[in-house]
């Protein structure tokens, strides 16, 4: 039984959610990894160094740049016969491609798994994480996305896999990449950060998110937001933590001015330590917080920045 994991990478190497997908795949048996795009030498080498990866397939074709769903799915479908399981992380890329692959293979995808029970059986959250469903697949090939926050990622170094060139099938040419406007930030990515500090509707305005920055700088934290803050237009959608945004599980999660709606909790309640700062002591966020501070965030945040600065 061999699994194939579609990897995402950037200049810094294989992305952490993809390394979590490799960790999930290791529970299923032998693991092969796939990198696709063009100019893949570094990515292929980085993939070969992942512990537990036996073989890296390199699919080098300009048509696979940016991993558009239509060509990427065609590639995975062409590679599928050699594999029992096809996996990717539950990221914008994985969510876009894997269900398309599943439909082309006539299988029901298993989205966002949080645990592997056996080769056919997986645990996945439903209803914003209010239930954990154990599901058994009757399909011959399992097509899976992996909730990165639920699996400790494999290390970036330590393995030495063989690298092979993958045959490229005919790629559909019905979609074109135009441009990407990616947020430039010195901060870690939300899904990979050791510390996350998020603001909610209580921040009152987008400019007030600046109050989070000195604290994020001091803690090496990523900055996130609740859906309410995104809906209110304070910050872009890629800040959103929650059922319909990103799922995070950092060592420390600091929720500022966030009431704790079900759909936000779904995105952060697996964090190791949760801090809530809110002036409403009845706010539901306090029910999941390890440390709650009932305070006006506009006085508490500068104090917190100063306190961290002091020590």
């Amino acid at each position: 039984m061999t699994s194939l994991v579609l990897l995402e990478f950037d200049a810094a190497g294989i992305k952490q959610p993809s390394r979590s997908a490799v960790a999930a795949a290791r529970k299923l048996g032998e693991v092969h990894a796939l990198v696709a795009g063009s100019g893949l030498d570094e990515a292929a080498q980085a993939a070969a160094r992942l512990p537990g990866v036996a073989k890296v397939l390199v699919a080098d074709a300009p048509g696979l740049d940016h991993l558009l769903a239509e060509p990427a799915a065609a590639l995975l479908v062409a590679l599928a016969p050699a594999y029992s399981h096809l996996l990717a992380a539950t990221t914008a890329v994985g969510k876009n491609i894997m269900p398309r692959v599943a439909a082309l293979l006539d299988v029901q995808p298993i989205s966002d798994i949080a645990d592997v029970v056996d080769a056919d059986t997986f645990v996945r959250p439903i209803y914003a994480g209010n239930g954990l469903a154990t599901v058994k697949s009757a399909d011959a090939t399992k097509v899976i996305t992996v909730r990165a926050a639920s699996f400790d990622p494999v290390a970036a170094e330590g393995g030495s896999a063989a690298v092979e060139t993958a045959a490229i099938p005919d790629l559909p040419n019905v979609s074109r990449f135009v441009s990407a406007a990616l947020s430039k930030s010195e901060r870690p990515e939300l899904t990979a950060a050791r510390v996350v500090i998020s603001g909610g509707r209580g921040m009152q305005a987008g400019e007030n998110f600046k109050l989070l920055e000195p604290i994020a700088d001091k803690l090496g934290a990523a900055v996130g937001a609740s859906r309410a803050a995104v809906d209110a237009g304070f910050v872009p959608n890629d800040y959103q933590v929650g059922q319909t945004g990103k799922i995070v599980a950092p060592e420390l999660y600091v929720a500022v001015g966030i009431s704790g709606a079900i759909q936000h909790l779904a995105g952060m309640k697996d964090s190791k330590v949760i801090v809530a700062i809110n002036k409403d002591e009845e706010a539901p966020i306090f029910q999941v917080a390890d440390y709650g501070l009932v305070a006006d965030l506009f006085t508490a945040l500068p104090e917190l920045a100063a306190e961290l600065e002091r020590s």
């Binding site: 769903a69 239509e70 799915a73 914008a92 969510k95 876009n96 491609i97 269900p99 398309r100 692959v101 439909a103 082309l104 029901q108 995808p109 298993i110 989205s111 959250p125 439903i126 209803y127 914003a128 994480g129 209010n130 239930g131 954990l132 469903a133 154990t134 599901v135 058994k136 009757a138 019905v174 979609s175 074109r176 990449f177 135009v178 406007a181 990616l182 947020s183 803690l219 959608n237 959103q240 059922q243 319909t244 990103k246 420390l252 079900i262 759909q263 190791k272 330590v273 949760i274 306090f286 029910q287 999941v288 917080a289 390890d290 440390y291 709650g292 501070l293 508490a300 104090e303 020590s311």
Partner: protein, 249 residues
């Protein structure tokens, strides 16, 4: 241009759903049901395209129990022109839904199908992509802006690090993200008018689709509960606890 918009009847997003005591599923009996919020955004986008003169007809489709007709009525009150209800008591998973929708698309021949990016009950986030695959159409998922020019649609997508713009040949699939638009509330006159709009009824057998689920739910359990935390009295106490007790800073 005809636009098809599938709409799903789900537990209202404000309801906190609990696991059934026998672990067989979630307790949904007697709970308020509504249209999946991302599907409201899909209907709204279609109605705006019609208001701009880009779309000529909007067909809302729902699949499931007879009460899904109410969800279609909501779509009709928002501005859809007619409805199709595929009635079944069977548990429908995204693969079956995509097959049923493909059969409807084959009949209706829409140029654009707009779906919610995710249903807030099963959280699969799969149906749009699967329907695109079965129709062999391109897909613009997690859309925050769309524009149609001639035989092409340009979609700005919400991706992990920001935004990505793609251009797709029509016909195409779009799935909606939060910021595509803010759905309108149906006005009372439009709710009244919607009662007269037609809803066709079909069965999975009429469409030649076997909707049998491929994923069997063995059990549903409660997520692990977090133990109750403590309130701290000051920022200084908070920092001290994080440093000395939790040891996370």
């Amino acid at each position: 241009m005809k636009i098809l918009v599938p709409v799903k009847r789900v537990v209202d997003y404000n309801v906190k759903v609990r696991v059934k005591s026998d672990g067989s599923g979630m307790e949904t009996a007697g709970v308020k049901m509504s249209m999946n919020p991302f599907d409201e955004i899909a209907i709204e986008e279609a109605v705006r395209l019609k208001e701009k003169g880009v779309a000529s007809e909007i067909v809302a489709v729902s699949l499931g129990v007879p009460q899904c007709a109410e969800t279609i009525r909501t779509a009709l009150a928002m501005g859809a022109d007619r409805g199709i209800l595929v009635e079944t008591d069977a548990e429908l998973q995204p693969l079956a839904v995509a097959k049923l929708l493909k059969a409807i698309a084959d009949k209706e021949q829409p140029t654009l199908i707009i779906l919610g990016k995710q249903a807030i009950d099963d959280d699969m986030s799969a149906t749009g992509q699967m329907l695109a695959a079965l129709l062999d159409w391109p897909q613009g998922t997690f859309a925050s802006k769309i524009s149609i020019e001639g035989e092409q649609i340009t979609v700005i997508r919400e991706v992990d690090g920001g935004l990505e713009t793609v251009t797709l040949n029509l016909p195409a699939i779009v799935t909606t993200d939060l910021r595509l638009n803010e759905p309108r509330y149906a006005s009372l006159p439009n709710i009244m008018k919607a009662r007269k709009k037609p809803i066709d009824k079909l069965s999975p057998a009429d469409l030649g689709v076997d909707p049998a689920p491929r994923l069997i739910t063995l059990k549903v359990s409660d997520p692990p509960k977090r133990k109750a935390g403590v309130k701290v009295g000051s920022v200084a106490e908070l920092v001290a606890k994080l440093r000395n007790e939790a040891k996370v800073i």
